[in-house]
Structure formats: structure tokens, C-alpha cells
Amino acid sequence: MAENRERPPFQIGQQKVSRRGLLGAAAGLSAGALLASCSVLQRKEETPKLGATAEEIIKQRQLTPEDVTAALMTYVPSGKYDEFLMFSSTGHGGQVLVHGLPSMRLLKVIAVFSPEPWQGYGYGGYTSEVLEGGYFKGKPILWGDTHHPALSETNGEYDGEFLFINDKANGRIAVIDLRDFETKQIVKNPLLVNEHGGCFVTPNTEYVLEADQYSVPLGGVYAPITEYKEKYRGVLTFWKFDRQKGRIVPEESFAIETPPYWHDLADAGKGPSHGWAFWNSFNTELAIPGIAEGRPALEIATTQRDMDYLHVVNWKKAEELIAAGKYETINGFKVIRMDVAAKEGVLFLIPEPKSPHGVDVTPGGDYIIVAGKLDPHVTVYSFAKIQQAIQAGNWDTDEYGIPVLPFDQCVEVQVELGLGPLHTQFDDQGYAYTSLFLDSAVAKWSLGKPYREDGWKLVEKLPVQYNIGHLAAAEGDTAKPAGRFLVAHNKWSVDRYASLGPLLPQNAQLISIAPNQPMRVLYDSPIGIGEPHYAQIIKRERIKAWDIYPEVGWNPHTQSVDPNAVIKVGDERIERRGKTVEIWGVLLRSQIRPDLIEVEQGDEVIWHLTNIERAKDATHGFALGGYNINLSLEPGETQTIRFVADIPGTFPFYCTEFCSALHLEMVGYFLVKPT
């Protein structure tokens, strides 16, 4: 709404106020018409101009012309919205960040794997149940290592409906609903412990891809490390997503067993390669730890071979095998054994330069680009050539019997970019952008046909500050990249910010990739809340988030009206049944009703709370000190908390969100009588 409001034009220097507007509109019928016509006339009369004041500011702040251009390209005036939204992981911060572009303003932190009190995430209510869904064999896990957010896609383009994010440390995937930007589900992969190759979605979000990183025996059971080759296994997982329910469905998901190579990143095919998925890997040496036992360090042992293996998976074929019952069930999860996968043409390997990191499918789905961080080249595989090699059938196998396609027959080209290439993104002009970790630079290079005639050439390199990991271009991993902006996620900021102690913020740098212009850094955005790995940037208008919940009494977990919601003031009540006290309460400015609850020590308390507000932003918090209960109830939201009143005493409960002039008076008492 705010962005539609008429604003006075940009002006530095003296203000000029028009009276003619007022006179012209004096004959208007209503006050509304008067205001509207007034502002329209005023706009016509005043033309933006850069006055002497601007020059003064530029001089005072010692800004270069490039600085001024960058400022003008990134400044988003008060009340205006950013053009793009960036969803980024926070590494072991365990959450997801939402930034606006080009302003690089942090708009929101979405709580995912860690409790977050402002959103009332993990302190009672359904969010605690979401976190419990991700417990590891019953053990509470209250953090995660988020790496790769994946927006849901339709026809290979972001549809703005859901976001998936992985937890490398504990092998989990979370589902965030972008109608309310809240985490709805955390699923634990029952086959693996540690993962990395997720989340990546297939072009219509049929599946969310996830693969293990550090192999363990299937199910994470114990096996001696010396039996690594025989007992340890890799897992490529296809999580089935039910868009209607907004949930991953483990029962309809499946995995493919692989040799215990350590899998890294992934991407799903699209266009001609739709139905296929790609993972790269390292430690095809099958090295195991044990420095004290005389084994070489893993960083040495896992980099002995010149080539590791790109995994090429026909998931459409895998679906058929599942339907035909050619799977085993392990820990309740469907698994296609690797001998079946090899025999049925589901799994192929192709050599790739050692210790690769990113594997990225071009917008048209015709090439697969692998960046091997120890090799100065990116290796471009042609999907058509891979298919020919598969048809030709003249492959060898690895020691587990998995077909290994000939490197030369699958590769289109190798392009030398610089030191430490990691990840690649794309724009709408036929260019690719690859992060160069060791060079601390972004390389822009041209794709070959059908993208460009002048293809497969390095165009330019832009230094970034410093140690770039992932990069994200606007919709830059979709079938239709948006171009214009790219964000470099730098691991080190070193000297970019004022000293804040030895733990330095990460540095997210906004880079202009406007067509026919050199790339340049526009803005530095410190990330002081985690380590972003991958990020995705989506056009803002693709996201259709709710301003308030659709109906009073909305349960955000079921995304439907809760039968226990109280939707009218006066209908609140307390019911006592033996040792159970059930409360149906409402919150509105500025009351929590009922406001006096008396229970006996040991009573089980079930407390339904509904914020009956319909005004945008009229959120109420609900905090019960001493019982570790803290909810955020947005307009229309209903939540239920359950706890045993085991501590006797007197506990005020109150609204934590400054909601109104009488916010401090929005309080009640919870009395627990000792027994």
C-alpha cells in the first residue's frame, strides 16, 4: 500500500510549494478528491534537480562519481519496496535471511532449525512440534547448518510458493511456506547423518534433492572405519513434495544407494535434461581418517586422484523402479540398491576434475558446468553428448560396478577462468558468472551456442572482498535468469567494516551485472548473524505473502481454521476436567482474555490463544515467564500450548509486542496453587 502513495519528487535544495494545486482543486467535491488532485498537480510542476546541497554532500563525504552512481542504484527511498528478495542460508546460524535488493536491507530472519524468540519459534505452540520433527533419534537438535536454500519452481522458474533449506550437520530438510514465511516442517533423512547436496528442486518441484556428504553406513548405524569400502554408502535422496499439503511426504520419497564417495553439490536437469539430476563428488579415493593410526590426513588422502566422479541420475527411470517395487525399505525409507541402479540405467558416473564444488545446469538445460576448485578451469559437459555416450554403451565401471562414461565423449569444453572456481550462475544475456575462491574474484564468461556466438570465453574478472564462496544472480539458476544483479557471498570481510572483535561479519557484496557494462561492486552488506552459503534471488512480485492470516482463528500449522479458535470476545472460557485445565483465550488490543487463570500444581494446562485482530501489523506476543513459553500471534492466528503446571507460584503473562497505547496493561495472572 505504501508504495502506491503519492510522494513528492526527489529534490535536493530549496523546496518549492505550489499553491495552484490547492486553488485548482478547490472546486473538488470531497476532501479525498481534493487531496488526490492536489498532489497530482504538484508533481507536474516540480522537476527533480540535483541542487548545490548534493554537491556539498559528495564533497564532504569524499565520494567518487562511481560511489554516487552506486548509491543511486541501490538507495531505496522510505516507503518504496525493493525489486528483488534474496533468501540466503546462514550456515551454522541455522536460519534463513531475507534481504531486499538492490538496497541489501535485511528484511527478515526466518527461524528454521534454531529457536528464535521474536517469532516465538520453539517456545511452545506448533513451532516446537516443527522442531521436534527434526530431532535426531529422539535427541533434541536445536541448531542446524543451513547451506542451500531452494525456492519452489514451476516449469523451471521460481513460483514464490515455498522455500526448502537443508541442514548439513544433521541431514535434515525444512519446508518454509512463503504465504506466511514460517517453517512448517523439518524432516530427518533416516539414511544419512551428514549431507550437503541439497536443497535443489526438480523443475516442477516434484522432488527436493538431497545427498549425503560424509558417508556413513545406511541409517547411520555403527560399523568399523576399516570396513569403509564394504559397509559405508552414499545416498542420493529424492524427497517427494506435496504442494497442496505444503509438506514433504517421506513415504512417497526414495533414495539411490551409491558407493561411499562424498557427494557435494547438485542440480536438477531442465528442458532437454528434465528427468535427470547431477551430483558431483570427491574422495573417490575412499580415504578414511586415522592420523594417529598412521594414515595420511584426509585433505591429503582425498585429493590423490586427478579425477572424481560426476553422478548422473535418471530420476524418471528411478520412479519407474520404485513403482515396479524394485527397492528395499531401510529405516522406513525406499532405497534403490546401487547394483539395481547400475543395471537399470539409473546411475552413471563421469570423471570430473578432482575435488569439485559446484555443478550447475545452464538455463536451457543443455550443459552441466562443474567447477573443480583445484583446477583453474570450469568443465562444461554436454547433456546431448552424455546421452550419446550412454547410448553408445562403451563404458567402464568403477570398482562397485557403476558405469563410468568416457570423459572426452561427454565434455563440450573446458574454460580457464582463474584460481579456485566454485559456483556458477547465469544472466539473461548468455553469460555465466563463476566465483573464484582463491583469486577472490567473480569471473564473467560467455556461454557457447545456442546462447552466444562468441562463446566459451572469459570476458572479465571483478575482485571481491574476500574469499568468495557462493554467488547468486537474480533468478540466476532458473530457466529464465533475470540478470542485472549478482551477490557475492564472501567468507572473509577482513578490513571492510569497523573492528567488532575477532569474529568478523561475513560480507555480502551486491554487484551490478548490467548488460554492456563492466561488472562493479555496488554495496557491501555485513552479515553478522551467520555464514551464508548459497542464496537465491527472486523478483519480489512473485511472492504472494499474506498481510494477515486469511481468517480469524487460523492455525498456521494446518493452514486452516482451528476448531479451538475463539473468534469473538466474550466466548473465551476455562474448563476444568480432573487434572486438566483447558483454556480458550483471545488476544486483542489491549487485553488477554481470560486474564486470570488459577490451577493446581501438577495440572495439565491446554491453552488455546487466538489473536482476533484484523489490522495489518497488529501482532500480539504471549509470554508466560517461568514456564519458557513465548508465542508470536499475528493477526488472525491461533496457537495451542500444552504444559504441566509443575512450578507453584504466581506468574504474570503479558503481551511482548508493543501493540497499542495500553500495551503495558495487556497482562493477566496465572496462579499455580501448591499441593
Binding site: M1, A2, R5, S30, A31, G32, L588, R589, I612, E613, R614, A615, S660, A661, L662, E665
Partner: protein
């Protein structure tokens, strides 16, 4: 029904047959139109109130129909409770309850005035003429009543003096600027009143010639 007397306008250039038809219906159509417009106005908003305050960039809107309230009623009620004002839906409950029947009756009167071409039947439509005035007067009463019957125990009761929000125009309550204006329903009712007035005038004039 009485045999109608055909009047011929003195200086009429219109063809005779058409003039005959017009003369037959000239003091009927305005009543029919009035009945239709009044009936249609039931479905349209009669009065709009917009509350503007910094924290509501789009403003809050309340729309009054003859039979219902619409818009941000809950939010306005929520805000009003701080100054001890009654809930909006507690105003004019009787009027809202009888509105469909009342308007139907008025439309019927207009219809009768059109159908029965007696001089006195025209006077049936005077109620239609007075209806918009009655509506505005009633609205004014309720605005006064609401502004003068604030709950003395409300949180901000001591900060607000009794007041009457304007029926038409701009007022101020707390941080809110209140803008009110008539709705399309009320304008239609006014048109119905004018139409009925035309009918009455025509009927009363014409009846002299008819004798």
C-alpha cells in the same frame, strides 16, 4: 381505472402518436423510476466514513448500507473502545432491521402513485421525497448519540470530550482525521425523491386539466 384523458402539449413538435403515449405516461414514469431507484439503493452504500492516521497508510473505512455495515468495522470498534464508544453495530439496530420492509413499502407507495392516476395518490409519494432527509437526520442523531454516550470507565474517557462526528465533511478525533461522504445509495435515494417530486408536480398540474 378511470378512462385517461389524452392531453396534447400546446406547442409540441413531436409526432402525435408519440405525444399521445407520453401524455399517457408522463405522470407515471417518474413514480416508477422513483420506486426502482429506491429499491436499487438497498444494495448500495449510503454513507462512507474514512479514518486517516499515520499508522494506517490506506486509512480505515466504514461503509454504511441501509441494512448492514461493511469495511474495517472491527478495527474501528477496537480503536473506539479506548474512548468508550459503543460498537458501531449497536447503532440504529431498529432502523437496519426494518429497512428492507420500509424501503419496500416506500417503493410500493411510489408504484401505487404511478399506477393509480388519482390526484390524491400522488401525495403517497411525499414519503419517498422525505426519505433521504429522514435518513440523514437519523444518521446525525446516531452520530450525536455515539459521541455523547461514551463509557466513563474507558481508558481514554478523561482525554475525550463529548463530540459529534460530521455527517458530511472532515472532523478530528485523537490522532484520526475523519472524512465522511454520502454514498451512491443515498444519491440514488435523492434522485428517487426528485423523481417523485417531478411526478407529484406533473400529477397535480395535469389533474386540473383532467378535471
Amino acid at each position: 381505472m378511470a378512462t385517461p384523458v389524452v392531453r396534447t402539449p400546446a406547442r409540441s413538435r413531436i409526432p402525435r402518436p408519440l405525444a399521445a403515449v407520453l401524455a399517457r405516461i408522463g405522470d407515471r414514469v417518474p413514480f416508477f423510476l422513483a420506486a426502482i431507484m429506491l429499491g436499487a439503493s438497498l444494495a448500495l452504500p449510503y454513507w462512507h466514513m474514512t479514518l486517516l492516521a499515520p499508522q494506517y497508510p490506506g486509512g480505515l473505512r466504514v461503509v454504511i448500507y441501509l441494512t448492514k455495515l461493511a469495511g474495517d468495522v472491527q478495527e474501528v470498534n477496537g480503536l473506539n473502545h479506548y474512548i468508550g464508544m459503543m460498537k458501531l453495530e449497536e447503532a440504529a439496530t431498529f432502523e437496519r432491521a426494518i429497512a428492507p420492509y420500509g424501503v419496500a413499502a416506500l417503493a410500493l407507495l411510489a408504484l401505487l402513485a404511478g399506477l393509480l392516476r388519482r390526484r390524491w395518490t400522488a401525495l403517497l409519494a411525499t414519503l419517498v421525497v422525505s426519505f433521504p432527509i429522514i435518513f440523514v437526520a437519523d444518521l446525525q442523531y446516531w452520530l450525536w448519540y455515539f459521541g455523547h454516550n461514551l463509557d466513563p470507565h474507558a481508558a481514554l474517557s478523561s482525554a475525550i470530550k463529548p463530540f459529534t462526528p460530521p455527517v458530511l465533511g472532515t472532523g478530528r478525533v485523537g490522532q484520526f482525521v475523519v472524512e465522511t461522504r454520502f454514498g451512491s445509495g443515498l444519491y440514488l435515494a435523492i434522485l428517487a425523491a426528485l423523481s417523485a417530486l417531478v411526478g407529484i408536480t406533473t400529477r397535480l398540474r395535469g389533474s386540473a386539466e383532467r378535471g
